[in-house]
Symmetry: C2
Subunit: 194 residues, 2 copies
DNA sequence: GTCTATATATCGATAGAC
DNA sequence: GTCTATCGATATATAGAC
């Protein structure tokens, strides 16, 4: 008879470690994160993580892949969301700024920018280009342009700028003085509007 | 007779190491930067840096202080710059995005956000609050409001958002697809405008 | 399964040869 | 003045006790 309870526990343990690791990685980056920090955050001993994961790099790569998948999912969701182009972009922006998504975005940012990443994570990151995100949003933006809501001109260029701005805000949010950016999304969207 | 040539060489060596260190620190952060990376970037051996600087932390703290001084100088310059409030803010923004200033801004960002910084750098950073930057720009912004160029409402809040956005762009710039943000400053300024 | 103790690798910093 | 070799500290990863 299979001991389902035990299997659940193992998965829960893994999730517990991953959750702790995500928080620290997103804040401190790969090299800035020590396994002892992850262990402390998870409330376990330093050595125990290695019963559930092979290495620090493996955990990092795993989280990066999850983060990218989450990002893709967020883009798919925006298409389903019924509303004007402006409302769709606003909803997507709010989702990016959402507490649950922030850590993932920060992690990808770390992987994109800050360090020599493990080869597994490197591969995932290379497949995941900013262009990929933008290109899926272009149709929505163009529709907004046709309706006279968004500025004319190069859609790709404007969206790259916009999402750089949002990404930048997420990066800042963690540290800079407590401010609820979600209230300010309308200001950000002015970048794109006529 | 003093050997001026030798003294120049020593200072030049120091500057060479500092320049290399700034580039790596700005990209990788304090813990992500290895002394071997700095040495390689400067084209010297790993041990030689220690003839010119006491420690990695000392170089980092030194650069942070220089960066903050540069930032303060940029703010002083904007006041001297004659022009409309909009032109002044545009000039300041362009200066922030300028290649020569970017690395310094990135470094301060690293010190503000990513890690446990050496106590010397910590002190400099604590004296240098984002508020300090904002508060000096508020008068310019308010003048623009009175002239009907900028949006009404809380000047502090709007400027915090604006500079978070610019900081975010600088952070992205290093890695995201080659794009000359300076051409897009007018789009950014729309955040502040009516 | 979890912890403590330890082997191994890496990096900051120093010493010594040239 | 610069490099190479090495020490000491710290961190990753493993081994062994419970």
């Amino acid at each position: 008879m299979p001991r389902i309870e035990k299997m659940q526990s193992e998965q829960e343990r893994k999730d517990q470690i991953k959750k702790a690791a995500l928080k620290i990685f997103a804040e401190k980056g790969l090299v800035g994160t020590k396994m002892s920090m992850i262990a402390e955050e998870a409330g376990i001993s330093q050595g125990l993580s290695y019963r559930y994961f092979e290495s620090k790099d493996e955990i990092f790569a795993l989280l990066v892949e999850e983060a990218i998948e989450e990002s893709r999912k967020a883009i798919r969701d925006i298409a389903k969301f019924s509303g004007s182009p402006l409302e769709q972009l606003k909803a997507f922006t709010l989702q990016m700024l959402d507490e649950n998504h922030r850590l993932y975005f920060l992690l990808v940012q770390q992987a994109l920018t800050l360090e020599v990443v493990p080869s597994k994570a490197r591969e995932a990151i290379e497949r995941y280009s900013p262009q990929e995100t933008i290109e899926q949003i272009i149709p929505i933006f163009v529709r907004g342009q046709q309706e006279g809501v968004f500025s004319e001109g190069d859609a790709y260029k404007q969206l790259i700028l916009y999402f750089s701005v949002v990404n930048g805000l997420i990066l800042q949010d963690a540290k800079v003085i407590g401010m609820d950016w979600t209230q300010e999304v309308d200001l950000l969207l002015k970048i794109l509007m006529k």
